[in-house]
């Protein structure tokens, strides 16, 4: 790209900046999404929610460098994202473990890619540390086929964390798991993210998951020509727990806001009817002040 000028003025920029991202496929008149603008601060946990086909996975793949957008730019830490990088760890939807390698070797493969000069003792120590972090030390020498779905996804998470990326990208990591396992791993993920101050961008279909995990939730309108229609700030305290979060007075206003958007509003905002620069809302705030919040948008009945 020729216009490198904004990059030099990176000092005041957020950690990750997405500007005017669009994706269209040849032979279609309307882009899947366009004018996608948002930013992520360092250490922030951001979830993106939207119906199937609005291009969430494409956005994540562009952030990962696995796909190229038709228009727009992504800047991370002052540099434009132009391809895959070890600075961004990805947890794939279908765990993507290599079935011929044990858990240890799967993670060691990633660790060796990041630090090719390490000797095997260093690699092994690092691998064991991250396997312990997801509680799988007992299964470290098993092959993925011998693990349950939840364990496989834990290994996928450990692999992404093990390369100590600047940012973590998760593509609906718990979609294929049962509710109980999902809850446990959500707690673990939350614990690790808080401990490591990791910046996370995660796709989810699960409203409760977003409310529990995310500091900021991006709501996407339906495709075609989907956009990030609204940015919802989670104003609940950061140390929220899965067991108690639903007792927080902010929980239901926040959750209802998300559900209302997905059920009622998102389809009316397709074909580019959503604003290019989405407003930020704090639906939980009203419950705190015990009065209707001024910033909260009313759901379309």
């Amino acid at each position: 790209m020729l216009n490198e000028a904004p990059v030099t003025a990176a000092a005041g920029r957020p950690f990750l900046q997405v500007e005017g991202l669009a994706k269209s496929y040849p032979g279609t008149t309307e882009p899947v999404f366009d004018e996608v603008n948002f930013s992520i601060a360092r250490g922030e946990f951001v979830c993106i929610i939207g119906h199937s086909g609005c291009g969430k996975t494409t956005i994540l793949n562009v952030l990962a460098g696995l796909e190229t957008a038709s228009a727009g730019h992504v800047f991370m830490d002052g540099r434009e994202v132009a391809g895959p990088s070890l600075e961004r760890g990805v947890v794939f939807q279908g765990h993507a473990l290599m079935p011929w390698l044990t858990v240890r070797k799967n993670i060691a493969f990633a660790v060796r890619s990041k630090w090719p000069d390490w000797d095997s003792a260093e690699v092994n120590e690092h691998v064991q540390k991250y396997v312990a972090l997801v509680g799988l030390s007992g299964a470290i020498d098993k092959k993925p086929a011998a693990l349950s779905g939840g364990m496989k996804q834990r290994v996928g998470i450990a692999r992404a964390f093990a390369i100590e990326p600047k940012m973590l990208l998760l593509d609906e990591p718990f979609g294929a798991l049962d509710a109980l396992t999902r809850g446990t791993i959500q707690d673990e993920l939350l614990g690790i993210v808080r401990e490591t101050q990791q910046t996370v961008f995660m796709i989810t279909h699960d409203v409760d998951e977003a409310v529990l995990l995310a500091d900021k939730i991006l709501l996407m309108s339906n495709g075609p020509q989907a956009r990030v229609a609204e940015i919802v700030r989670n104003t609940m305290p950061r140390d929220r727990q899965r067991a108690t979060v639903h007792h927080d007075p902010q929980y239901y206003p926040l959750r209802n806001h998300l559900v209302d958007f997905l059920v009622a509003r998102s389809k009316d905002l397709s074909h580019g009817k959503a604003p290019a620069h989405p407003p930020t809302v704090e639906p939980g705030r009203g419950a705190l002040a015990d009065a209707p919040a001024t910033v909260t948008l009313k759901a379309v009945a």
Partner: protein, 286 residues
Amino acid sequence: MFKSLNFKATLVSVLLLLVLLAAWQLATLPASGGSAGPAVSAEQAEYLKMLGKDPGTAKAGGFPTPLQMGQTAWRHLSDPFYDKGPNDKGIAIQLGFSLARVGLGFLLACVVAIPLGFVIGMSPLLRRALDPFIQVLKPISPLAWMPLALYTIKDSSTSGIFVIFICSVWPMLINTAFGVSAVKREWLNVAKTLEVKPLRKAFLVILPAAAPTILTGMRISMGIAWLVIVAAEMLVGGTGIGYFVWNEWNNLSLTNVIFAIAVIGVMGMLLDLMFAQLQKWVTYAE
């Protein structure tokens, strides 16, 4: 349950073998004296003898009995390495010549087919560009190359190796290309996000992922190569188990021919078992 099933299967196999041997024995029984048809007079017998049709030994020298076969097999197996000139070598030596040709031709085919298959599998352009050639060359009987090979190489033994090469190359090439092109996108994406270098990706991601398919191709190739070597050696002559069969046919020694057929079958089975074992090693459960 499995054990008893195995046991039953073995029992049935042995029974079948016994039935076959008994049928063979019955079929090759010398005709009994009474059924020799109209008696021949002394003059007629004399006349028949002059024509080479001795009525007294009419049944001798026909299809061998199981007992004769057993004796022949024992004779061959008890001294497999003797070498008494070009037309009289032990069975192990002949088998060794065949195995060496197959091994060499097969190895050459591996060296060509696996890297080439890798490249074809990775590049959709090459895949399409080379497809017509592969489709035309693949169905050609390897023996059809023989005259061309003999003319250009001018050495019958090397021509045999070439024929093995040309018949083993296609299944391996096609399977390698297919295996490589079918490597799961997600594993390649993992390699991409980890910035894995191309050579490391080829050996640590693509090769193990495609190994079961490649091994299947190698197993098919080896099966075909073993089929073809017998025919090729019949044509080029000199040494090898195929030549042995042809030579014994010219000697009208059916026992030796049958023995060689059995040896070819057992050797083919062993080769296949070897590749089945290799396949087991590289196969992964998802």
